[in-house]
């Protein structure tokens, strides 16, 4: 045993090695990405590890490995579970032989997500156990238990750490790494693995029969615990259990829920010993629902009667508000303060020299009246440049574009999608758009990497997760094979060619694809690429602010003239934009 100061996801990755995981797959998504990013830096012989092209693909690969007797881990963010939901819902029927753990990282407050869905609901929906850690140590220990549970009950097990577990740090006790790996062997068994109606009806019954045993085992393992200290009680789940421990008065009972399904008898026994119960959990009122079901006359405080919010993330302060409102404490333990007003905001922004900026600029210039559906990635930040009109989920740029176009809308529809997102769920939409006669322009923003989540490789990078070379994917050939005839590839730093290609696309009909290709500027810098920086000749600058409107963080404006700061990466696009010709390459004297 050793103690280390680790990021939650790094501790989780270590726990996977302690559990002797043999097969690892996933798709990057904040806040889950660092688990595989940690594991892939130290590849282990005998353990297969991959970034898959999407979550459904990742889930099915892991499921198959678990069918072959391997211990399999599959990771994704909460919304990734939507993509993987199809195999998930039936994998509980087929069950598994080797342990299978689904890490679904939830994001209350949507720090880096499109919604605040609660993966505990998915676990209940699929009838699989769900471990809901309150701390990094819980998450670490929970991974090891999850594999044991999975093998004991022959079911995939979900673990759902939230952002404040994945991306928090702490002093963590680690165990010994396991040695050696299982080699998969498939045992033919159609009654389990071929879910025709005759088989699946029986499998469903078996799944239901497993449930009471799971509930009891979760109590025995100590996931759900209770301490009776008074007439009033708090029941808390997930990280809220840590927050409440910091501020809870000594005479109030506490039960913590660290795993689902909750055993009703156990819960009823705790509830019946109290007169008032405050239930604290982020997002869906799942524990609260269970408590209300077993309560007989107790006063219940929770989300359903307005004591706590249904959305956002909690903090000790929000929980103190609820304690105060429910009369558990008489004074708020924290001061009331307010942030300074009227400050220039500093939202995340496309990097200086990012290839997406010139692409958005050109789209807006050529398609002045255009509608711009977009997708999930760094380029969603094109919102600030007025070049993103819709974003809903992975792969929904091309489909939304064709839907808008086929709805009868007459303006040009120009959508943007990154290379990784295109390979994730974009291709189907492209085939559909061509097949059903859409009239749209699809701009593939090809920076050859999955950038936003931390630069994970994808098939377009020509490298696997563990760094071995992989065959090249041709986006051009892929698009042509979907039936697109207008497929043009441009360097987005070549502004005149980019504008010209956009203009040509505007003249055509049908589905037109423009591939804007240039490596992610962060990756290029790390790889040692260097371009000359640019500068503004103050005497020539007319102060027209066109370069400021371009929105590059390397361009500032002081004393009525533009100035280029140290962030400049030398993409030179601003030099092409400047009507006065005031921006030129810096010459070292």
């Amino acid at each position: 045993m050793e103690k280390r100061y680790l990021l939650g996801n790094v501790a989780i990755a270590h726990a996977c090695r302690e559990a002797g995981v043999d097969f690892i797959s996933g798709y990057p998504g904040t806040p889950s990405s660092e688990v595989i990013d940690t594991l892939r830096t130290v590849p282990e012989p005998g353990c297969h590890l991959e970034w898959s092209v999407n979550e459904k693909v990742a889930y099915e690969n892991a499921l198959a490995a678990a069918w072959c007797g391997c211990r399999a881990l599959v990771t994704m963010k909460h919304v990734g579970v939507n993509v993987a939901a199809d195999p998930l819902m039936t994998s509980s029927y087929t069950g598994v032989t080797g342990g299978m753990v689904l890490l679904a990282a939830d994001d209350p407050f949507a720090h880096s997500s499109q919604n605040e869905q609660d993966s505990r609901m998915y676990a209940a929906f699929a009838k699989i156990p769900c471990i809901d850690p309150a701390s990094i140590q819980d998450a670490h220990d929970g991974i090891i238990r999850a594999f044991d549970l999975s093998e004991e009950f022959g079911l995939p097990v979900m673990i759902r750490p939230t952002t404040r577990i994945c991306h928090s740090k702490g002093d963590i006790e680690l165990g010994e790494r396991a040695t050696g790996h299982r080699k998969g062997t498939f045992q033919r068994n159609p009654k389990q693995y071929v879910v025709i109606p005759a088989h699946t009806r029986i499998l469903h019954k078996e799944l239901n029969q497993k449930q009471p045993g799971i509930r009891k085992r979760l109590i025995e393992y100590g996931f759900n615990t209770a301490v009776v200290r008074g007439e009033k009680a708090v029941i808390a789940g997930g990280i809220s259990a840590e927050y409440i421990r910091e501020i809870l008065p000594d005479d109030i009972s506490i039960a913590t829920i660290g795993a689902y399904p909750i055993d009703e008898e156990w819960l009823a026994a705790f509830v019946s010993r109290h007169t008032e119960i405050l239930v604290i959990e982020e997002m869906m009122p799942i524990i609260e629902g269970a408590v209300r079901e077993v309560a007989c006359g107790q006063v219940i405080y929770g989300k359903k009667n307005g004591y706590l919010p249904h959305e956002g993330e909690f903090s000790p302060s929000i929980i103190a508000d609820a304690l105060l409102a429910a009369g558990y404490i008489t004074a708020h333990p924290f001061p009331t303060v307010s942030p300074a007003g009227n400050l220039p905001v500093r939202p995340p922004i496309l990097c200086a020299g990012c290839m997406h900026r010139s692409t958005f600029y050109s789209m807006k210039k050529v398609f002045k009246d255009g509608i711009f559906p977009s997708d999930i990635g760094c380029y969603t930040l094109g919102l600030q440049l007025g070049a993103v009109d819709t974003t809903i989920c992975m792969g929904a740029s091309i489909t939304v574009a064709s839907g808008i176009n086929r709805s009868g809308e007459e303006r040009d529809v120009v959508c943007t999608i990154g290379d990784s997102t295109f390979l994730h769920t974009g291709i189907n939409g492209l085939i559909n758009a061509v097949y059903n006669g859409a009239d749209i322009v699809v701009v593939i923003l090809d920076n050859r990497i999955t950038a936003m989540t931390g630069h994970q490789p994808n098939p377009n990078t020509c490298l696997t997760a563990s760094g071995t070379e992989s065959p090249a994917v041709s986006l051009e050939a892929l698009c042509r094979s979907c039936g697109v005839t207008f497929v043009e590839t441009v360097d987005p730093y070549d502004l005149s060619l980019l504008l010209d290609t956009m203009k040509r696309a505007k003249e055509e009909k049908g589905v037109r694809v423009i591939i804007a290709r240039q490596p992610c500027v962060i990756v290029a810098r790390r790889a040692g690429w260097k371009r000359h920086k640019y500068m503004v000749e103050a005497d020539t600058c007319t102060g027209c602010r066109l370069c400021i409107k371009y929105g590059c963080p390397a361009i500032e404006f002081h004393d009525e003239v533009a100035r280029i700061n140290d962030l400049c990466t030398g993409c030179a696009v601003c030099a092409d934009i400047c009507p006065a010709g005031a921006i030129r390459r810096e010459v070292k004297r």
Partner: protein, 194 residues
Amino acid sequence: MKKSFDVMIVGIGGQGTILASNVLGEACLIEGRSVKGAETHGMAQRGGSVESQIRIDGEFGPLIIPGTADLLIAFDLLEAVRYRHYLKEGGMMIVNNQLVLPTSAFSSGQPVPTIDDISTMLDGEHTAIVDATAIATAAGSPLAANIALLGAASHTIPLRVESLIEGVRRCVPQKTIPINEHAFLEGREAVKSI
């Protein structure tokens, strides 16, 4: 009353706030003390405003409640203003004398604040404004500004100087250890002389 010593480290994505917080975490391990922290990853890192929260002797959740932090270390003047409400009354603030203006400052049409404007706003008996970039550059690399700031803050942090320096050694790239040690010590000197 809380038992932990709570530190907010704030700045702009890419400035090294996470590395600075790791130094504190390692120093806690060295002294056998519990520690919790929370930080910004993902989308917000792209040049956005970022925060790392570290609770020395922290036993519970990682989040620091506004109005209760014991120390604020800011890598940028504007970010110091943005997060100063996290400090408790009398809490100490160590600020890098650097102002990176967000693009929004130029495009919004609002008056653009200057270093002097913000320094005046922040001035007070519990504030030390340090030219950490200059200290780090003199020590061998401007990239060590985060460590120079930690050095400047080290008088206030309830961890031994030796533990902090060992923390620095564990966290920075091997070949930059001498530069960072130097930056830490010079940063520590700089605040004494204010």
